[in-house]
């Protein structure tokens, strides 16, 4: 495949893209093409539908005794009240704009300018929204991940001083559980952050996962409407 695959190449590759058996650079190049080509997206979607249906051919088999009770225990534990992790940066501006419409224009004028400024920022790169989410190691926040849905979409991670590892492997986990390698970076005394354009739509990303050379994995969850 050339650096910039054309529609014919992408359609040849569509079954393997749908099956998730295309790896690395080839997949990233295909995703870049698909982002700007609705016709090819439709072809890949058709193949993905077939790929999904295929899984129904596997037999239904009862899981081991106690599976249900073990799962329900995990479910109840997981649904204890905990703070919402994802903060939408523009939410505050939207609330303030709504207050302005209620007659308190002077009080929120600076915030309206703030929101207006962001509209210009979004217009520059077909942006839709920003999001941020803490990077957790277990229940401990050890940094922050910022993300932008636009063209291109991107993610930027910032680690705090408690992180001691030198090298991090960064992956995305999509809504379908697929893991997409994003790259690696080395942390030096002067470097605590790293960013990269996303090969997929930010809306399909659920988790940004950093696996260090030593120590526990860091994860930031993104959930979108």
């Amino acid at each position: 495949m050339t650096d910039r695959p054309d529609c014919e190449e992408i359609r040849e590759l569509a079954p393997e893209l749908a099956l998730g058996t295309v790896s690395g650079d080839e997949r990233a190049q295909a995703m870049e093409h698909l982002a700007g080509c609705p016709q090819c997206r439709a072809v890949v979607q058709e193949m993905s539908d077939v790929s999904d249906e295929l899984l129904l051919a596997a037999p239904a088999l009862e899981p081991p005794v106690g599976f249900e009770s073990r799962m329900m225990e995990r479910y109840r534990f997981g649904h204890r009240k905990k703070p919402r992790r994802v903060a939408m940066i523009l939410a505050a501006a939207a609330v303030l704009l709504a207050a302005g419409a209620g007659g308190t224009y002077l009080a929120v004028r600076s915030d309206i300018h703030f929101a207006d400024h962001y509209r210009h920022v979004f217009a520059a790169a077909q942006g839709e929204y920003f999001a941020s989410s803490p990077l957790y190691s277990g229940d401990r926040p050890l940094g922050q991940a910022f993300a932008y849905q636009g063209s291109p979409s991107w993610v930027f991670v910032v680690l705090d001083g408690a992180n001691t590892a030198h090298r991090y492997n960064v992956k995305l986990v999509t809504r379908n559980g697929r893991e997409i390698p994003l790259g690696t970076f080395s942390r030096t005394p002067g470097t605590t952050s790293w960013g990269r354009a996303l090969p997929v739509d930010l809306r399909s990303v659920w988790t940004v996962r950093l696996t260090p050379d030593t120590g526990p994995t860091l994860e930031a969850e993104f959930r979108h409407q």
Partner: protein
Amino acid sequence: MGQSRRKAQPYHLLWSVSDESLLAAMGSGDSEAAAAFLRRFQARVFGLALTVVRDRGTAEEVAQETFVRAWRHAAAYDSRRGRVSTWLLSITRNLAVDRIRTKRAQPIDPEVLMSMELPSTEPDPERAGMDAHESVRVHRALRTLPAEQRQALLLAAFYGRTAREIAELEDVPIGTVKTRIRTAMIKLRSQLEVTDDR
């Protein structure tokens, strides 16, 4: 998750609730809905996991992780992108493929998958979300494919094998494998569309 906490429903009534509603209720913390969702889908999820990883302990781990992801991400499920059943199974498949890649396990001959007993043509009411008709329909469509196309397709679809890996396994050129997979997918699309009564 942005959804109001629903009042728990009597257990028996939940079987008539749609997959989508059950998923949404589960995502909002309704443990009755979570139990019903689990019972509706656990055999399919475990069956697929075991088909791929071939070890009951590992298959249970994969099945558990599948359901954890399902309830964590229930709010982000988009019905326009597919049914709950296929969404859930695609999560299972990806997790299972990750496991066999980590352990470098060898996949079973996909013909074994085809020879497994077909599900009953009578849907089990307790698994309404995983309509047995769908499984039978896919099996029948697969049986119409030439063996070499079916083999290549199942190795890719169930075991995440790349065209290059299948070419090495079957000792044929990579171009031949790509053609087999592509031809098989196009035939299946046509078969499944023709018989699609959804």
